[in-house]
Amino acid sequence: MIFFVKSAMALSLPPFIATVLLLLASLFASKRRLQILSRFLTASAVAFGYATGHRIATGSLLLIPRSVEDWLPLLAFAALMLSLFENLPKISAPIRLFLRLVLSVASILALLIPLANLSLPSKLGWAFGLGLMLAILWTGLDELSEKQTEALLPLSLSVVTAINSTALLISHSAKLSQLSGVLTAVLGTFFLFCLWQRQWSIAKGASGVFTSLLFGINVSGIFYADLPLLSAILIWLATLSGWVRSLPFSRNLTNWLQIALQILISLSLAAFSVGIAVYKNGLPTGGY
């Protein structure tokens, strides 16, 4: 137990500090009415918070990727740059969606190109399929975070990434599990920040960086470890569970019931994801 607590503290404390510092800078910029800078700093909080944890978990932060996981911080920074571009006033919605799709496909392709046992046409097929899913998830979460400017969303995402961490550990990758744990720490920091600053949300470009990272970690888990595809899809869907509150039947419910329903769906999808990972890989023998 002490081993896991020590590991979790060593992994989560530096990302927590990096995220808090950048969120404070974003808050400062927001109060000075520098909205574009504020959005960029909020998105940077996810990217740099994750990069800090990534450096600790993998022991490296390379500009030229060698092993597949080296791509993850670069994907985060690419999404960060796109979020900066998207926040410019004159970017129309179709252009924004097109750019997201291009970056999503390119991101997945970057992760699949090093794979030795898959042909190029297969890699391209997977990259287009998963890239389209990533773009949809990105847009879905971005829209959701514009609607739900409350602490529940980052809390829900933090819990989902924590459960994803378990699924990845069962799928024989402690390192990818730790990287998902780093996202938990970053989103947990957002949750605490949102409790303090009630009108704060992750909508300020941060959702794109988060989605790219979660997707990248799970795609690595599917193709380089033993994470079942269905487990990954359920985790991705769990991040969008907040949309249930916009469904017609849900609008008649009280706010608390809506929140309970969102949490229930989120947890159920994530739990099913772990269940499928256990079904495929079996429970870890432990201590090997």
């Binding site: 060698r66 024989h172 470890a225 033993d226």
Partner: protein
């Protein structure tokens, strides 16, 4: 007009080629009698035990020349063939946490220089490629024996043990689970072609 090549020159060249062919023996690594074994301290178990494992799929070629400088060795190991006796551990070691065999399916060693290091001992310098990183290593190799096997085919066997740091080969994560230092023993037997 070119001067015709003399018979003497032709014979000299032929003698050189035949002499070279005779002086160099090529051996194919026999997977059934070759072993690549590794040992690594399990830090997660309070550093109280070494984990041992092996790679079961080994290929390669050994060229033995009278002129030692012309001798060479090439070994290719299928990283997917890793076996520690615990399937879950094997999958973990093959995942991106360590070897990442889906991206780096082979481990290779290619000699660049072979020197004598005493009777039946050699200093072999070469490139070890592991986890996509190539580093030059110098190994002290002992000749275990040579002769004709029970089928009358010439065979030769070598063995070496050396230690690498996995972090030198880009495997820098999870140092609180497995130690940085990994000791490898390569024992190969070649069958003359």
């Amino acid at each position: 007009m070119h001067k015709p090549i003399s018979l003497r020159t032709v014979f000299s060249v032929l003698a050189f080629i035949v002499g070279f062919a005779i002086s160099a023996d090529t051996y194919e690594v026999d997977p059934a009698h070759s072993f690549v074994i590794f040992r690594c301290l399990n830090v997660a178990q309070a550093s109280s035990v070494f984990i041992y494992g092996r790679f079961t799929d080994i290929k390669g070629r050994i060229v033995i020349d009278k002129d030692l400088a012309k001798s060479s060795v090439e070994i290719t190991i299928n990283a997917e063939s890793l076996d520690t006796g615990v399937p879950d551990r094997d999958k973990h070691l093959k995942s991106p946490d360590f070897l990442n065999t889906k991206q780096f399916p082979v481990i290779t060693f290619k000699s660049k220089k072979v020197e004598s290091a005493g009777k039946n001992r050699y200093r072999v310098t070469g490139d070890l490629t592991l986890h996509g990183v190539t580093r030059t290593v110098t190994l002290t190799v002992a000749k275990v024996g040579e002769g004709k096997n029970f089928k009358g085919v010439p065979v030769i066997g070598f063995e070496t043990t050396f230690t690498i740091k996995r972090s030198d080969f880009g495997m820098k994560g999870l140092m609180n689970v497995a130690a940085d230092e990994v000791t490898l023993t390569i024992a190969i037997m070649g069958i003359r072609k």
